[in-house]
Symmetry: C2
Subunit: 249 residues, 2 copies
C-alpha cells in the first residue's frame, strides 16, 4: 500500500484511494482496525493532518468509522443498505436537479423499475406490505392533507410495493430512484379530483398485489405512470400560460 510521490493528485486523495482499494479488494476486512493516524502518517511519510483528511474522505463514504479513546481508531465499516441508501438519495436528487433531467425521463425510469418489481411483489408480498399500502391509501384520501404530505405518503406506498418483492438489492436501487423524484413530484399541485384518481389507482394496485395478479399490477402501474405524466404536463403548460400572460400584461 504505497503512494506516488509526484502525482498531480492531493496526497490525501491518494492515501484515501490506497486504503479504499484495500477495502474493496478485501485486504482490509470488516471491523478490522486501521493503524493509528500517527502510524499511518509514518507509513505514508506524510503529516497527521494529511492522513486525517484522507480518513475523512473515507468516512464521508461510510467506508470507515472512527472511535475515540484508548483502543479507539478507524475501523473498516460494514456498509449497510440504509447508509448506502441515504447517499444514493442525495446523489440521485442532485443528478436530477443539476443535469436538468426532465420530469418525463425521471418518471419513465421510475415506473419502468417499479414494474420490474411488480411480478415479484405480487408473488411474495406479506400481510405487512399490504397493510402499509392500505394505510397509506387511507391517508391519501384524507382531506386537508398538504401536497408535501400527500407526496410523502405516495413514496411510502410505493416503497411498500417495492419492498414486497423481498429483494434487498431491488429495494435499495429503486427506493433511491423513487425518493429522489419526490422534489420533482412536489412541484405538482394535486387537485382534489387528481388525488381521487390516484387513490383509485393505488387501490387497484393494492387489490392486484393482494390477489397476486402480476399482470394487472403492471397494467395499473402503466396507467398510473401515464396519469402522472399527464398531470405534470398540465401543470407545466398552466405555468407557461400564466407566465406568458404576465409578460404580455
Amino acid at each position: 500500500m504505497k503512494i506516488d510521490p509526484d502525482s498531480t493528485k492531493d496526497l490525501s486523495a491518494q492515501i484515501a484511494e490506497a486504503i479504499r482499494d484495500g477495502i474493496v479488494a478485501g485486504d482490509l476486512i470488516v471491523d478490522q482496525r486501521l493503524p493509528s493516524e500517527s502510524e499511518l502518517a509514518d507509513q505514508f511519510e506524510v503529516s497527521r493532518p494529511t492522513v486525517r483528511e484522507a480518513l475523512k474522505r473515507l468516512a464521508a463514504q461510510s467506508l470507515i468509522r472512527t472511535q475515540r479513546g484508548a483502543s479507539g481508531g478507524a475501523f473498516v465499516n460494514r456498509l449497510r443498505f440504509e447508509e448506502a441508501y441515504d447517499q444514493q438519495v442525495t446523489t440521485s436528487s442532485l443528478l436530477l436537479s443539476m443535469n436538468a433531467v426532465s420530469f418525463d425521463v425521471a418518471c419513465e425510469a421510475r415506473y419502468a423499475l417499479e414494474r420490474a418489481c411488480a411480478p415479484l411483489s405480487a408473488q411474495r408480498r406479506t400481510p405487512d406490505h399490504l397493510a402499509t399500502m392500505r394505510a397509506e391509501i387511507h391517508r391519501q384520501g384524507q382531506p386537508g392533507l398538504t401536497d408535501e404530505a400527500f407526496c410523502a405518503s405516495d413514496v411510502t406506498f410505493h416503497r411498500a410495493l417495492v419492498d414486497g418483492a423481498g429483494n434487498k438489492v431491488l429495494s435499495y436501487q429503486l427506493a433511491g430512484a423513487v425518493e429522489a423524484m419526490q422534489p420533482l413530484m412536489n412541484m405538482i399541485t394535486f387537485t382534489a379530483r387528481s388525488r381521487e384518481t390516484i387513490v383509485d389507482l393505488h387501490t387497484d394496485i393494492a387489490d392486484a398485489v393482494e390477489a397476486q395478479d402480476s399482470a394487472k399490477t403492471e397494467a395499473t402501474l402503466l396507467k398510473l405512470e401515464a396519469y402522472t405524466r399527464e398531470l405534470a404536463h398540465t401543470v407545466v403548460s398552466a405555468r407557461a400560460a400564466k407566465k406568458q400572460e404576465q409578460q404580455s400584461a
Copy 2:
C-alpha cells in the same frame, strides 16, 4: 448556515452537512465559489484544518471541487452521471460483498431491472447499440478468451442493451447493478458449452431488439437469467462436493 456548538458529532461533519444542505437545497448553485477556507473558519468559528476536513468530505462525494492559486477555492461541482456512476459501482460492490448477498438475489435484481429496460430498448435502440451488441457477441465466441474477458464483454453487451433504452437515469441505475455483479460473475468458470449457450441467447436478444420485439426480448432475458442461475448452482455444488472430498480424505 450555522452549526450546533455541543452536538455529539464532529465539527467537521457538522460543517460538511451544513454546506451539503446548502447545495441540495439550491442555496449554493453550480460553479458558485465557496468562501475561502480562512473565511469559512471565521464564519463557523473553527480552525482551518477543521474546515479542510469538512471540505474533503464533500470532495469525496464529488459535491465540490477545489482549485489552487489566486482566485482558486472550492466550487460547487456539477455532479455528472459518470462520477456518480463510479461511486455507485464501488458502493454496490461493497454492499454485495459485505452483506453477503447471495448470487441468486443479486442475479434476480439485475435481470428484473434489465427486463424493465427491454421494452424501451426494443423501441428506441439505434444502429450503434445493435452494432455494439453484435460486436460483443462475436468476441464472446472467440476461443481462448479468458473468463474475465468473457465477463467484461458480457457487461458491455448488457450495457448496450440498457443504453438502448435512451434513458440516462435508467442507464445510471442499472449499469451500476450490472457492473457491481461482475465480481460475482467472475467466480463462475465458463465451459465452452456454457459459453455457446450464452452466445446463442445473446444472439436471440440482439435479434429480438433489432426486430423491436419487446416480448421476445423479455422472454429471452428470462431464459438467460434462469441459465445463469443454473450455472452458478452447478459451480457452487461442484465446489461443495470438492470440499467435502478433501475433508474426508
